[in-house]
């Protein structure tokens, strides 16, 4: 297989797990459904066949216990990758994640380490509803000792996963379900060192869009249409929640003077506030206008697609916010019209027909 390929985000994760299993003999992949016929939305496909049932395992329904068990295995020198099909299920494991995984190295004065990766998937659409579509990443990102990454592109998914597995610290790897089918270039020759901090996905001088995970895709769509109107946005994919790369955003804002933060989380649960607050404390005069955070409303996601459709901000909402910030309101109607998706808004792509 060539070193450069076009893969979906999901396939890039599979590829990274595959390469890492080959590289690290002590690595394990474990989770409910990991070896079942659906293989976690195909992200673990074929791994059991190649690496055996000992290294690619299913598990009992016991999120906290299994997290503790993976911590113990990691202490003993294994590299477990634990998978939860929804980030919501990781709430059951908060104790082991926060009290143990995050603190073990610190508590024991650096004498022990926990090379653990926990994969979690943010659900959305097709009636996932209140308990299967939460965006809890900021909850984990506020825990000292946990690394939280949330790549957007297939290439980053591949490299961040490899890095997470090679890392001797616990890493929470946050996937958005709606990224899984999106394809991108995966260049395996990219040096591992380059895979940290935020990434500028598009250059522009009119406004900075600092975006997290799936909404980065929407930001790019908005930027494309705005460019047709001469408005060039600088799109920064934040990628890592800890440490949060304020530097890159500050540099961009120094050029653009305007900031839109876009997040996949309820406003009150958005790590965007951390970004905005740190920027403000650092340099209060950079911005020519108030920054804006576009995020989800502060309530659970209702199941009914009649409602959920309007829960999620899309490219048109980002564009509208940008045009407001830049005081170009007259453009809003036409820009938003061209951004409106014809796809039902509870389906990630046209091939999706439920039930997940």
């Amino acid at each position: 297989m060539s070193d450069v390929m076009t893969l979906s985000y999901g396939a890039a994760i599979r590829e990274a797990l595959d390469d890492a299993l080959a590289r690290h003999p002590d690595m394990l992949v474990i989770g409910e459904g990991v070896p079942d016929p659906k293989t976690i939305f195909s992200t673990t496909q074929g791994l059991r066949e190649t690496y055996g049932a000992g290294r690619v395992q299913d598990m009992p329904l016991a999120e906290n216990g299994m997290t503790g068990i993976c911590i113990g295995a990691a202490l003993a020198g294994m590299r477990p990758v634990l998978v939860h099909q929804r980030i919501d299920f990781a709430l059951l494991a908060m104790d082991q994640m926060v009290n143990n995984a995050a603190k073990w190295c610190y508590m024991f004065n650096g004498q022990q380490k926990v090379p653990l990766v926990v994969r979690v998937i943010i659900g959305r659409g097709w009636g996932q509803g209140p308990q299967h579509s939460q965006s809890l990443q900021a909850m984990f990102a506020q825990v000292p000792g946990l690394k939280v990454v949330m790549p957007t592109t297939a290439g980053d998914a591949y490299h961040f996963m490899l890095n997470a597995i090679a890392d001797d610290n616990p890493v929470l790897f946050v996937e958005h379900r709606w990224l899984h089918h999106i394809t991108g270039e995966v260049d395996k020759r990219q040096p591992a060192a380059g895979v940290t901090g935020a990434a500028r996905l598009r250059q522009g001088n009119a406004i900075t869009i600092a975006a997290f995970s799936h909404i980065t895709i929407e930001a790019l769509k908005a930027a494309t249409v705005l460019a047709e109107h001469g408005i060039e946005a600088d799109v920064v994919d934040m990628r890592c929640l800890t440490p949060l790369d304020v530097e890159t955003v500050a540099n961009s804002v120094a050029q653009t003077g305007h900031l839109l933060v876009a997040d996949c989380a309820p406003e009150m649960a958005s790590i965007g506030h951390l970004l905005i607050s740190r920027l403000y404390q650092r340099q209060p005069t950079l911005l020519k206008q108030a920054p804006r955070l576009v995020a989800y409303p502060n309530h659970p996601v209702p199941t009914s697609h009649f409602l959920a459709n309007d829960y999620y901000p899309g490219a048109e909402h980002l564009a509208a916010a940008i045009l407001e910030i830049l005081d170009r309101r007259p453009l809003i109607t036409s820009v938003c019209r061209s951004l409106q998706s014809t796809l039902a808004r509870d389906q990630p792509d046209r091939y999706f027909v439920g039930p997940f």
């Binding site: 409910e32 079942d36 016929p37 598990m59 329904l61 409602l307 439920g354 997940f356």
Partner: protein, 322 residues
Amino acid sequence: MSLPTTAELTGLYHRMLRIRRIEEAIATRYAEQQMRCPTHLCIGEEAIAVGICAHLTVADKVFSNHRGHGHYLAKGGSLVGLLAELYGFAEGCCGGRGGSMHLSDLNAGFVASTPIVGGTVPVAAGYAWAEQIKGSGNVVVVFFGDGCFEEGVVHETLNFAALKKLPLVMVCENNQYSVMTPLNERQPARDIYPIAAAHGLNATSGDGNRVEQVHALAQAAIAAVRAGAGPQFLELHTHRWPEHCGPNEDDDLGYRPPGELATWKLRCPLRHTEHMLRLCGVTDGDLQVMEQQIGVEIDQAFAIALSGRRPDVISMTHHIHV
């Protein structure tokens, strides 16, 4: 174990058949992509919900999980409320907010189903605790699966239920699978109910596909609760026919050993009961009438549900708090 009378058995059969036909109708119409939510059907497992709920009054309470249609219907939950909920309409039993995985019909004493596995188990115990404190005499039943039994919170609940001698019946529907993962990849080779027994619950197991057996076990368990004997635990063996989530069959995926599903289909709870009814003299004609009545009810219910109202977008922000 006392057997149900013919009249009782006919009633049980009717309720099982109704659930089966409703689930089938949902499966058929699911392809229209109007019910846009994860839906876990209980086809093949109807006897448990029906056999247990037969002994409950409206004032008794039921809690359930992601696979909740059967429990909801057996407890007397509104069919139109269920279907409208699946369609996401305002008339749904949760106003469309919950879909298939969150059901509630307080008029029927069906308090709630939710899809975080294990989530309702302690809640049901807490409800039973309150009933006990209030001295209401009501019984609380919670349904959950074999996979759910692996969650720590279930064991915390067993301890508290035994400690307080709660008026609670815990019903473990052991269909041997958690999604597509068989029991032997998740639990050692042993029964489930002895663990509950070791905690101090009155625990037993039975064939969940024989409604008369479920009915008899439930009768004893619920009578014991009403008599103040404390919490009861039933492990009932059964099997799910369709895929874990969704309207289709999935035997082609190969996660079940060849022939397993076919064997369980031979042990269909409906077919078994039908056989018994015929021995008791129930005729083809009787059964056809039943089928027809149910068919009409379902068609009407879908028609009413489908004429439902889309919830207003603004309503999305309501009820974050009371």
